[in-house]
Structures are given as C-alpha cells and as structure tokens.
C-alpha cells in the first residue's frame, strides 16, 4: 500500500441552518492512496461534489477534518492547498489566451516566465493542444476547452487533481475517447486523481477504486469489480447496472453457501454474507446476465425485447418475476419466444446476499 494522499475523517457538511438545513455529507470517512484513480460515484445531490469542494477548500466542513499528504488542511483557503481542480464547466478565463490560462497557476505561484513557458508547453503537449496556445477560449470547441482545463490544472503539477464531472458536457464519442485518455494521463503523470461522476460506466472504466455515495453517505468503497459483483446493499446493486431483487428465505446452509427458497418454491444458491441463520429472510441481488437459460422448466417467458447485442427476457414462475439477459451470440436471433418454458442456471458466486 502506497502513501495516503487524502484522508477524510468523519466529515459532516450542513448547508443552511434551522429548519432549512440540508445535510450534504453525513459523517463521511475515506482514505485515498497516492497515485490512485479514485472515483466518487453517485446520483446528483448525493454529496460527491460537496466532498470534492471540501477537499479543494471551496467549502469548510461543519465537522471532521481532511488531511492532504499527512498535513491537516482545516481552514486553509484553496490557494494554499496542493490540489488543483478541473471544473465541470471548464471555467477558463475568457480574457486570457490559452497559454495564459494554462500558465496562470504557476504565475500566481510567482515562478519565472521561462519556467512557466516550459510548463505550458509540456502541459499542452500532454493534452495534444500545443498549436492552440495563442487562441482564446471562445475560439475552442467544448472538447478542446476540456483539454485546456485539464492542462491548466496539471501545469502546476499538483499532488492531487480533482475532477468535477469533467466529461459530462461532452458528446458520447468524445466522452468515451477522453476516458481512456484520462486514465493514461493519470498513469503517466503519477498524480492522484479524485474524479466525481454520476456516470457508472465512466466510473467502472477508469477507476482503481470507487466510492458509491448516496444521501450524504458512502454506500460502498471498492474496485469496479467489487462494486459490480459484490454490492453491499440494494442502493449499490441498483445504481450500478441492473439487478433482480428477490426476497428469499434461507433453507439450508452448507459451509459458506446458503440455499435460499424464493417465492415460487424454487431454490437459489448464494454465498452467505454476515451471520444469517436458517429461516432468516434475506434479499438476493442477481444480475440479469448472470442467469443462464435452458429449454423446458418451471419458468415461462413473458416478454422478449431485442436490444441489439442482447435480448432481454422477462420470465415468471408463479408470482416470482425476473429479468434475464442473454447475448445474441452468433445467430442474431433470440433463442426463446414468448410462452416458452425455461429453467434457470444460477451459480452461487454470481448471486449476492445484500447486507440490508
């Protein structure tokens, strides 16, 4: 484990006071390692941007404290923190040209012009925008402005780069291209990235670790695989990808596998989580693509939706319903039709017993 870049301890942020008070962060603690691509993922209003703004110093926490590379930054204004931000709407200075924008941070730090010029050239080449140095922000497209915002934040070589939904204003293709670039940039520069997004795909493709946030709380922290394959709770399982949520009763426990009976009397195996006993009612989360289908059985296909690469089936048995997704591998047609009887193949490792 490398050094800790950022440690947040019991952060509480309350906006306003009295009956209008809004709790944006409710006792949040986390540590981000040096050289890590860390993502704060969650729906709007979950507190992820507030957390970023607390780290940047634009807001001060109501309670709790933040350490950046071991030193407490409580009360320090943004210009005394070794972090730089890439803003959602770029926030390029309209009255300065691109080189002046990129060199602004170093100029404010009182560096020599020669050093500033060198850093500007390096930063612009990092984002492949060297030839735009003398343009003004108004002359650039959204994607180009985005790159300049990135170059500007990287130019002073901060220890931590904060990115506030930097890709949300770009169109889809550009967004996808930028994901790879950002990841490469992070790896090449070795700077710790703290990336805020509401886009799960962005989070999954770029991050070393993800903190899923909701309602001012961290719901789960883990790698992309942890979070997708082993969601801790219903919120995480629902927010990232799709899940079938099935209420079940534990019937038999066989070492770490619990066999759970669902609504229609069928049994689904799952890995045991926590200290549940036989007879306990639990919620299982099963990803639609982790369920295998074969012909003949207790389930009936109720609906079949063609999705290009996949077909999504809604299947039912008694009152129990589920969604199953199957790749249209080679044939290009769905394997089953509405009304067909099917049986399920579910492995214990692919179902998750939720903690809540």
């Amino acid at each position: 484990m490398s050094a800790t870049a950022i440690a947040a301890n019991n952060l509480v942020k309350i906006f306003g006071s009295g009956p209008n008070a809004v709790t944006a962060l409710d006792n949040v603690s986390l540590t981000i390692s040096d050289n890590e691509f860390f993502t704060l993922l969650g729906p709007s209003g979950c507190g992820k941007t507030t957390l970023l703004r607390l780290i940047a110093g634009f807001e001060q926490p109501t309670e709790g404290d933040i350490e950046i590379f071991g030193s407490a930054v409580a009360g320090l204004p943004p210009y005394e923190r070794p972090v730089n931000t890439v803003f959602q709407h770029y926030a390029l200075f309209p009255h300065m040209n691109i080189a002046e924008n990129v060199g602004f941070g170093l100029k404010m730090l009182g560096r020599e012009q020669r050093e500033i010029d060198e850093a500007v050239t390096t930063s612009l080449s990092l984002v492949k925008m060297e030839e735009f140095a003398t343009r003004t922000p108004a002359q650039l497209s959204g994607g180009q402005q985005q790159r300049i915002a990135l170059a500007r934040a990287l130019a002073p070589r901060p220890k931590v780069l904060l990115l506030d939904e930097p890709l949300s204003a770009l169109d889809l293709k550009l967004r996808q291209a930028m994901r790879t670039e950002l990841k490469t940039l992070q790896r090449d520069t070795g700077i710790t990235f703290v990336f805020v997004t509401h886009d799960q795909e962005e989070a999954l493709t770029m991050s070393d670790r993800i903190a899923v946030m909701s309602a001012g709380l961290i719901q789960q922290i883990g790698t992309a695989r942890d979070i997708y394959e082993r969601p801790d709770n219903r919120f995480v399982a629902d927010f990232i990808g799709d899940s079938n949520f099935i209420s079940a009763t534990i019937d038999v426990i066989d070492s770490d596998v619990a066999h759970c009976v669902i609504g229609n009397g069928l049994t689904i195996p799952t890995q045991l989580v926590g200290d549940h006993r036989v007879g306990d009612t639990v919620t299982l989360a099963i990803r639609p693509e982790k369920i295998g289908l074969s012909g003949g059985g207790d389930w009936i296909i109720k609906e079949s939706i063609y999705l290009g690469t996949d077909t999504s089936y809604r299947i039912a048995s008694g009152t129990q319903e589920m969604t199953v997704r199957e790749q249209n591998a080679r044939t290009g047609t769905a394997r089953f039709n509405v009304g067909d009887a099917v049986s399920l193949d579910v492995a214990a490792q692919t179902t998750t017993m939720l903690r809540d």
């Binding site: 634009f58 931000t85 602004f104």
Partner: protein
C-alpha cells in the same frame, strides 16, 4: 396600405421617427449652438449676424488696450479645474462604487433588486435639494463641525465649504449611482466559478481580484467612468453651491454666459469645447470596446 418593397426604403421609413427625434431635439440645438458660437454677441443677449471666431479666441487670449492678443489663462484654469475635478469624481465614484456593486452582486436575487432600487432612489429627488443637503453637512455650523466644536475637539472652522474638495464630494455623491449600475451589470454577468478557479490556481484574494474580477468587469468600469465623467465635467450645481462660485467649472461658466453675462457666442464656444471632451471620452470607450470584441473573437 401598401408597404414599399425596397428594403432600404422600408428601413428608412421605420427609423424615421427615431431620426426625427434625434434630429430635432439633439442635432438641431447643437447646430444652432455651433452657429451661434461663430456669431457676434449682442450686448442684450442673443447674437448679432456676422462671422467671427472672437468667441474661441476669448477662451485663450484677451485683447489688451492696444488691441493686441494677450494670453490669458483664466479660462484655461477653469477648463483644467473642470477636468481635474471630473477625474477626481470618477476616481471617487470608482473607489466607492465598485465595492457597492460587488456587494450587491453577491446577494440573493431578491435582495439584489431591492438594493439596486435603493441605489437609484436619490435620482428621484431634485439634485439641487440634495446638493443643498451637503451645505448643511459641510458648512461651518453644519452637522460635522457643530458637534466637534461643542465637544471642544476643534476650535476654528475646518473650512470645508467652498473648496475643490467640497465640489468633488458633491460630484461623487451626485453621480455615484451612474458608476454603481454599469459595474453591477458587468459583475452580475461574471461567472463566479472563474473566481473559484483562480483561487484553486493559487491566486490570493487580491490576485483573483486583480487578474480576474477587474478585467472581466472592465466594460462596466469604463462605462461607469464615462457616465460619471461626462456630467461631472459640465456640472454647475455642485460647483455653484459647494464651490460658492469661487471654484468655477465649465458648466457654471456656460451657465453664466447665457444667463448673466449675456455672451451667447462665448457660451456656445465653451459648450462646443465641452462637447469635444465628451466626444474624446466616448471615442476612447468605443476603441476599447472594439479591442475587446477583437480579443474575444
């Protein structure tokens, strides 16, 4: 009714009312003044026919007993004082107006509207009355000196009235809203995330102010400076009341020529001079606005 088909004709007809208003109420009076300034003065007021540049000569030169031109700086001093006091007024309004405008933009929308309303309220009262109020404040037995005297802090009068300082104070007071409103309009459009971005890039409060806020508020600052400078340089109420007629400014001088001195051509000539100053100020603004346009592509 058949509308003319030619777009040029239609545009002309559409703008005709505007041209008429500007022509009758602005261009014509100025032309009359211009013509008058080149005529001979009638001792009983008004003008006598005939072309002469006598009025313009009078600004700089006097005729001595031998009918020779003699340089006389008395009007030059008035011009100089007018420009100086107007610049002081501009500076004073900027110093007081900018923080006010900045403060207003940082408030909630509803509060902003109320504060703007409050800023404009003095405009609804007569300028003469408001300037008289300053006499009560500054004069020897006014609200500043009286308490200081009774407390024994000062013995002699501070002699605040009838000074350049008094006139400048009056001008700043009179035209402060003309500085606040355009600066507010500029700052209101300013994206404060840019200020955050500056702080994030290690700019202190002062640096962010200097590097980001002021440059982006420049259009409002320039407009405010012009709006304060133009009426200040031609002001006559403040110099008359607070300067006591001892600190004559261009506006008072013009007023004198048409009212008591009955020298209309000379009044007209000075008015033309004033117009020239204003035009220079406006051209400067136009040039900087054009430069800004080019910069922002």
């Amino acid at each position: 009714m058949n509308l003319p088909q030619n777009p040029a004709t239609r545009r002309f007809l559409g703008l005709l009312p505007a041209w008429l208003v500007i022509g009758i109420f602005m261009v014509m009076p100025m032309m009359i003044l211009l013509v008058f300034s080149f005529m001979e003065s009638d001792p009983y007021g008004g003008v006598d026919p005939g072309f002469t540049i006598e009025a313009y000569r009078q600004i700089l030169f006097d005729l001595n007993f031998d009918d020779e031109l003699e340089f006389d700086p008395v009007y030059l001093i008035i011009i100089g004082r007018s420009i100086l006091l107007a610049l002081i007024a501009v500076f004073g309004c900027l110093i007081f107006g900018f923080p006010v405008a900045y403060y207003i933009t940082r408030q909630e929308r509803r509060v902003q509207n109320m504060l703007l309303y409050l800023v404009t309220i003095p405009f609804w009262t007569n300028l003469l009355v408001r300037t008289y109020a300053w006499i009560l404040i500054l004069s020897g037995d006014g609200v500043i000196e009286q308490p200081l005297k009774s407390l024994g802090i000062i013995e002699n009068s501070l002699e605040m009235m009838y000074t350049n300082g008094a006139v400048a104070t009056g001008l700043v007071y009179s035209y402060l809203p003309l500085m606040v409103l355009p600066i507010y309009a500029s700052l209101e459009k300013l994206d404060f995330r840019l200020v955050e971005a500056a702080h994030d890039l290690y700019a202190s409060r002062f640096q962010a102010f200097k590097q980001v806020i002021v440059p982006l508020a420049k259009p409002g600052i320039i407009a405010g400076c012009i709006l304060v400078f133009v009426p200040s340089v031609g002001a006559f109420i403040a110099p008359d009341l607070l300067g006591g007629g001892k600190k004559l400014m261009l506006g008072s001088l013009i007023h004198l020529q048409f009212a008591s001195s009955r020298n209309w051509p000379f009044g007209g000539a000075i008015a033309m001079l004033l117009l020239a100053f204003v035009m220079i100020a406006l051209l400067w603004q136009l040039r900087s606005a054009r430069k800004r346009m080019e910069e922002s592509g």
